[in-house]
Symmetry: C2
Subunit: 204 residues, 2 copies
């Protein structure tokens, strides 16, 4: 009985190539927009001809699908990586808002893929979409623990965050005009839904 090696070098290599392909797609997306990714250029960046990509992804949309899924996993990871959150509820909410805001505004192409329907012929697969749902559930649970239990209150919170992100990306791509509003938005939200605690300092 010969023991198999406990590392599958072939699978590792294969996974590394998929990684390279996705990285190349991200480079193009960040440079020219999420729409501008073409198989030819992805291939060029990884040193392959376009048809060879089909050995690793079933289609172009399969590449987008993997990008979509990994973006949402990255959100989760970004939240999980931070071990300490403020104890005071308003400070905690602000910290969460800032993490989400910074993530969303750090990469316009990613944001368009995740949150806007920028790709006419792309719809995430069920598996990829599940990553996004998982993130919403993390948010929902976290808010529930803070006492936000009504759907309408959660909707209010997502609207406040989406609005700040959206305005920042649309009107002040490299600035901080709407990021500065986050403490204010958190206070307004907390006052509205009855989360106690001393108000955060505000930017008036």
């Amino acid at each position: 009985m010969t023991a198999l090696p406990n590392r599958d070098r072939r699978a590792e290599r294969r996974e590394a190539t998929r990684r390279e392909i996705l990285d190349a797609a991200w480079v193009i997306a960040r440079r020219d927009g999420i729409n501008a990714v073409t198989l030819r250029e992805v291939g060029e960046l990884v040193g392959m001809r376009a048809p060879s990509l089909y050995s690793h992804f079933a289609s172009k949309n399969a590449i987008y699908d993997a990008m979509f899924a990994e973006s949402w996993r990255e959100v989760q990871r970004t939240f999980d990586e931070r071990e300490v959150w403020p104890a005071a509820p308003r400070e905690a909410l602000l910290a969460q808002a800032e993490v989400w805001f910074d993530f969303a505004t750090a990469d316009l192409a990613r944001h368009q893929l995740m949150n806007q329907r920028a790709l006419p012929d792309f719809e995430p697969s069920a598996e990829a979409y599940a990553e996004s749902v998982a993130n919403y559930e993390r948010l929902s649970t976290s808010m529930h623990e803070m006492g936000v239990r009504k759907q309408a209150d959660l909707d209010l919170w997502t609207a406040l965050l989406a609005g700040a992100v959206n305005q920042q990306l649309a009107n002040d791509l490299y600035g901080k005009r709407w990021r500065r509003q986050l403490p204010r938005l958190v206070d307004m939200f907390c006052d509205e839904v009855g989360i106690p605690g001393p108000p955060l300092r505000r930017t008036k």
Copy 2:
């Protein structure tokens, strides 16, 4: 001295054709997305071959440019058409918010053209962009009259509106989940920036 006719029938006809072309482009955009407009299909809908469109528009982007400009003119017109606005400031703000919200959510393709960068190779001309600036100035003036004078306060207001619109379009396209939040958002805003008046009824 022969009098010229006081109607230029040729110019009228020409303008009517431009109008038909734009209408056809809107039909396609609403059906398949703003990206999906092609000159072939626009031509088909107006009973022309694609190259003939070049007699009326210099390029495909010139069509998008006209669509962008007329969208913003339509916003202006929608606000101008309404003669009576509530006297109470909070009611007035709510009415304005609803008008904007309803306009923005009525047509996803139009919203993507106006407010998101859904078309990689399109940038509005200076003339078209001026229509959007004019709208912001109308908003700014109107808010100023209500006592909202700080840029940060105006930014707050645009973030609240953008957030509600964005969430509605992204997560509840045919519903009213975020439209119902408008009275609440108005009250929160007024409390925050010091606009007096009795609170609106809220949806909690």
